[in-house]
Symmetry: C2
Subunit: 265 residues, 2 copies
Amino acid sequence: MISKAQIKEIRLLHLKKHRERYGCFVAEGDKTVCSFLESPWYVVERIYALPVWVEARSTILQLHPDVPVEIIDPDQLSQISRLHTPQQVLALIRLPVPLALPARLHELVLALDAIRDPGNLGTIIRIADWFGIRYICCSPDCADVFQPKVVQASMGSLAHVHIVEETLTTLFQQHPDIPVLAATLNGKPIQQFQWNRDQTRAAFLLIGNEAHGISPALLQMATTCITIPRLGQAESLNAAIATGILCAFLCLTETARPAPDKSAE
Amino acid sequence: MISKAQIKEIRLLHLKKHRERYGCFVAEGDKTVCSFLESPWYVVERIYALPVWVEARSTILQLHPDVPVEIIDPDQLSQISRLHTPQQVLALIRLPVPLALPARLHELVLALDAIRDPGNLGTIIRIADWFGIRYICCSPDCADVFQPKVVQASMGSLAHVHIVEETLTTLFQQHPDIPVLAATLNGKPIQQFQWNRDQTRAAFLLIGNEAHGISPALLQMATTCITIPRLGQAESLNAAIATGILCAFLCLTETARPAPDKSAE
């Protein structure tokens, strides 16, 4: 059962101020809800589900006996869902404690400068998860990662990737030894770029705003500018597509290609 | 000026049957409309624009004196636009004559199997345009490329890329000498795949449906399966992201890497 007051409360959670007031956000759909149930970093506060979902997911629910499950009907689900086609289950997840980046890093970290489109941000979280990138730093003017469209577009990957909200100039100053690779239109072609992992295993990959690119103050802090060469006529690539391509080159090719010193043997 | 009958007619064009009946489709926004004006393959039938756009684009309009321009006001534009924020200009473009693939091919061609999401399809067209890919073959169950959301997501790139609608099994049978590279989850890692361009400059890159992947009948026709290795936990990558990464590797790395016979010298 679900009361009218609960329905109203859940519907308010699409706004950040109400998420902060109630300390939780909404996740929808089987895959996304299961990802949060299985994540060691999130607490699922309550599940609202159709009987068919509760039956299908009895095994995972038995592993989480402390999570209250409210059985609702399709009409009630459509009242709390923000999806065109509600997907059997909706969960309230506790907002995580704000996270800082570890002091010592030995891996690729995404740094997002004002990614405002929630679909792009969710897709970038999913890309990071695919390539095993564990940390994404979002500037304060990025879309809020806990808004419904971001959670939805991340397809459960939000449960696997740590999100750090931080002013990026501060972040780069705190980690002066970590190179900043800035994605621009006129840098080193990505297929020729050698990220010397042996020397410095950590790097920030800095991705700019969809319309304005990387802000000048941040661009000044870049160690290297890298570029996806344009062979045709399109003016730009979507920010998530560019992130996918750059992550693929940085994460896949260095392990495939011999390191410079080894090839010289 | 724009009549009520014209407004009604334009609003009907979001449906394929009406696009076919009237023989035209709608493009919105400065960049997209200018791309179609400049394209040798498309005929712009009529432009509806705010005075500010007509003034700003007087140079390009003078190059196309045969295109009728109707000056309208913001209220009229909002009546014919399908955008949340209408963008100063909307054009009716004549539907192109259905195109077949050239008999002889010497380049990478995208083959899309049931890409149903219009945003994905538009983004894939933009990716193709970025990498200079000139032909995209769409199976008949792909989203219609001339529907508003696809045109919008392609950001003008639809004017630069040829779209061929064809049953893909027929297409591959018509081109038995051209290898079919199928994007799957368990093929050859893309960073290790050598597309021997010297031997066969043409190839089809086959991308499957967002939910179901490549259909079994098409998968049987694949010459090679290629994969973006997964290093993390995400279950899948979005179809457009996967296309972007595969195109980047296929289009960028072969030119950067020496050809096998040259490296053996």
